[in-house]
Symmetry: C2
Subunit: 500 residues, 2 copies
């Protein structure tokens, strides 16, 4: 059984159990066994992180930047090994997805975080000399990062955006691997550990799994400054409740259906492109993107009938891709059932795919606007995977009503004609949609999440736990892991350097 | 029975009951009767606020600034009437406290908020032209403000810091008055309503009271963007839970004991000043400040004995001031009992004051460091009112241990000698204290909360619900009432002006 990384050492876990990952392409269990850590492991990790945090407060920011750059270099050097492990554990393509796109994105984020370490501006320092009062965003304390299944590198607890942002904010990280890709996580953690040789022990730690109760205790522990979670709604809400109860900031990315409105002029002006963009975005990564467009909203008409048929054809023609694991397949099947039970009609797919791989048919469902409005809660069930629901509305007012029933999403998009024919509809719908999403798009599918300082990967609940913050985009993502600290009449030599 | 201000009109409440305030100086009920609003009133207020919010998005920011300035002018014109009502309802001195200090502070905040309306910088706009991606903090939606009992003007739901910050952020406000000062709240709401004549109905609304269940439903309502609460820990936590359950930002200021460490050199260098500052700050406003120094931590020794005796003398000599209401007196008596039951010894006071006024003796308690460490939870019970606990520790290590048991507070202070003799102790203690407070002070009591852009009136739980935000200090306080909004490939003419 593989060891855990606690307090600066790889050492045997105090294990209450073990698990192995599954190769989604074959459905077979992988050989490496990983521990489920006990409360003792959790306790030691928390204590070590708290000690490291005290030491970090004395470190120059450049030491953190150096760590992040060294780490990025090591990951780049080991790109092939890491991406192969991720491919084996997730079924995602080795190229271009993992090695060519996600790994460079990951190391790019680490290097951007290194830059953020050295940039004081995002900490929003304010100095009022007359009142002898100063404030600045300070690191919040050790951060627990719980990464999701769908981005084994770029959102991994030990290498992803939350990790990078927390370190850049000045917070040691305890990473919990996702059970679907422990070897990928271990290889990354090994690189992180090597890169952190000059940092205090406990600066970066990795445990592979904990029991539910230990996870709940962990997010509520007073030594923890904050937690960041990306994953399922049910698991995230349990942890959020435990954190909320003790007023612990818990940054959760939970669920999103990412509505896309296709106004009629779009289908007139660029029918083929619209079909292509819908199918490509809907099936990207077997639909396992946080920003997957799960709900397409259209107006009834011949063009929409042709559009639905053409997308269905594309879904039928595309070979089902492996899902990330058996749990994803099970949830997806349940969601498809829920949608059908609420009145959605199956146009294409709908079943698990045949063969050894863990996969599901590319699935297209359809509902009329009036039927959507009869059961809006059930019909906005997230179907994580290659599944898209098309809602066909009678008119713009019905679209508005559908939008007004929607919970928060990460993204929302409106496609409209360039000749102005959809402009009145756009003006009617955009404010209703914008209030419900973190990122509003025009004429573009939401699946790409650029690592840009202007990005918002966030949004109203349940897309995330707090709509003020973003999980992607540096340096803004660092702000989650800070608290506002004010210094009143503090003697000059005792002030943080940034406030002198 | 007085009417409520809903949807642009003063109209009779749909009342489930009524209440009157008490004059703390006489203990008698005041004549004016105010309604407890039903769920129908709440529903209408929420619907009106949601409509107003849609209209506000189309308004120029200058319209909000104009409103805030007009409102401030009206409050200044009616200063005498408003301050007299506040005096009658709260027992706080008419001069200088209410008319001379708190009222000008209130109108000053409103005018600073007007400036914040016109300043786009605090919204943190970011434009990435290459990626055609833009983000900015946008108003979060209608805000419910629940004001506390202790600042009837500067923290009133209809005129205080939260109100001003929400309006400046672009959010219509539903204010719930505090039951202890409804007439003050009504007079302010009348001025707000007149000043808002050019704004849509529902821009500023006032209800006087609601039943518990309606309050819980209100903070969780999807039409509400956020809520801001200042008040008791138990009431705030109930509302926070309801808001957390649906992922609604709930900015709560709940509880704080505001530890003050007096290092030995201070008593050598400036004994008399230290006694004076302790007694003045501890008894200011009858101790009913969020930033009241409830716990003084000292080192055992002759100087400390003299210090405790001198403070006790000051507490005995000062006449008990009226408390804000019978509820405050009851809670204070319970807290004093809790502290005594946990081992604190009474040095001075300890009982309700004699006479018609609602008042409590100025109370000083004492505990040894070891005894504090035996029951740290009970001994950090907030005793809201003129009550101070002095913890006398054996050594700096014991002080450190005491500090490490403390929950979050708004403020924390260390007094130290100027000759360097306390510097080692300071360096040992300051990081432990700083991690637990929103504002760290040197050589200064915490009761003054300057309205400065560099202020932080916030801190770790349970001082507030989220340590990233401040309730005082513009424009920073506005950020609470915003969500991050990103615009991806949005056509230029559809962008908010700030992002074009």
């Amino acid at each position: 059984m593989h060891p855990v990384l606690i307090d600066g050492h790889w050492r045997p876990a105090d294990a209450t159990g073990s698990f192995t990952a599954t190769n989604p392409a074959t459905g077979e269990s992988l050989a490496d066994a990983y521990p489920v850590s006990s409360a003792n492991d959790v306790e030691e990790a928390l204590a070590a992180a708290a000690r490291a945090f005290c030491e970090w407060e004395k470190l120059p920011r450049s030491a953190l930047a150096d760590f992040l750059r060294k780490y990025a270099d090591l990951v780049d050097q080991r790109a092939e090994t890491i991406a192969r492990a991720a491919h084996e554990e997730t079924g995602l393509p080795y190229e271009p997805r993992l090695k060519g796109v996600e790994l460079p994105r990951t190391t790019g984020q680490l290097r951007q975080a290194a830059d953020a370490c050295l940039d004081p501006a995002w900490r929003l320092p304010v100095i009022d000399e007359a009142a002898n009062l100063r404030s600045v965003l300070q690191p919040i304390g050790p951060v627990l990062v719980l990464g999701p299944n769908n981005f084994p590198l770029a959102f991994n607890g030990i290498s992803g955006g939350d990790f990078a942002a927390a370190v850049a904010a000045g917070c040691p990280v305890i990473a919990k691997a996702h059970r679907s890709h422990p070897t990928t996580s271990r290889l990354l953690a090994e690189a992180a550990h090597e890169a952190a040789a000059d940092l205090p022990p406990g600066s970066v730690q990795m445990i592979f799994a904990v029991d539910h109760a230990d996870g709940l205790a962990m997010v509520a522990d007073p030594r923890l400054g904050a937690a960041a979670f990306t994953g399922s709604r049910s698991g995230g809400l349990r942890l959020k409740r435990a954190a909320d109860e003790v007023g612990k900031p818990f940054f959760a990315e939970l669920s999103a259906i990412n509505p896309v409105i296709v106004l009629p002029g779009t289908l007139v002006e660029r029918f083929d492109a619209m079909v292509d963009e819908t199918a490509t975005s809907g099936l990207m990564g077997a639909g396992q993107f946080c920003t997957n467009p799960g709900l397409i909203i259209t107006l009834a008409g011949d063009d929409t009938e042709r559009f639905v048929a053409a997308v269905a054809e594309r879904y039928a023609a595309a070979a089902p891709q492996p899902l990330l694991g058996p749990g994803v397949l099970k949830c997806l099947a349940e969601s498809v059932s829920t949608l059908q039970a609420a009145g959605a009609k199956l146009i294409q797919g709908g079943e698990a795919a045949e063969g050894a791989a863990i996969a599901h048919q590319n699935t297209l469902l359809r509902i009329d606007g009036a039927a959507f409005l009869a059961q809006p809660d059930a019909l906005q069930t997230e179907a994580f995977g290659p599944c898209t629901l098309v809602a066909v509305c009678d008119d713009i007012e019905q679209v508005r009503q559908v939008l007004s029933t929607l919970e928060g999403s990460l993204t929302g998009c409106i496609y409209s004609a360039t000749d102005g024919s959809d402009d009145a509809a756009y003006d009617e719908l955009a404010p209703v949609l914008a209030a419900r999403v973190g990122r509003l798009l025009n004429d573009k599918m939401p699946t790409g999440v650029a690592v840009s300082p202007a990005m918002n990967h966030g949004g109203p609940f349940p897309a995330t736990g707090h709509p003020h913050f973003t999980a992607v985009g540096l340096p803004a993502a660092c702000r989650r892991f800070t608290r506002l600290a004010c210094f009143d009449n503090v003697r000059p030599h005792r002030l943080p350097a940034i406030l002198r």
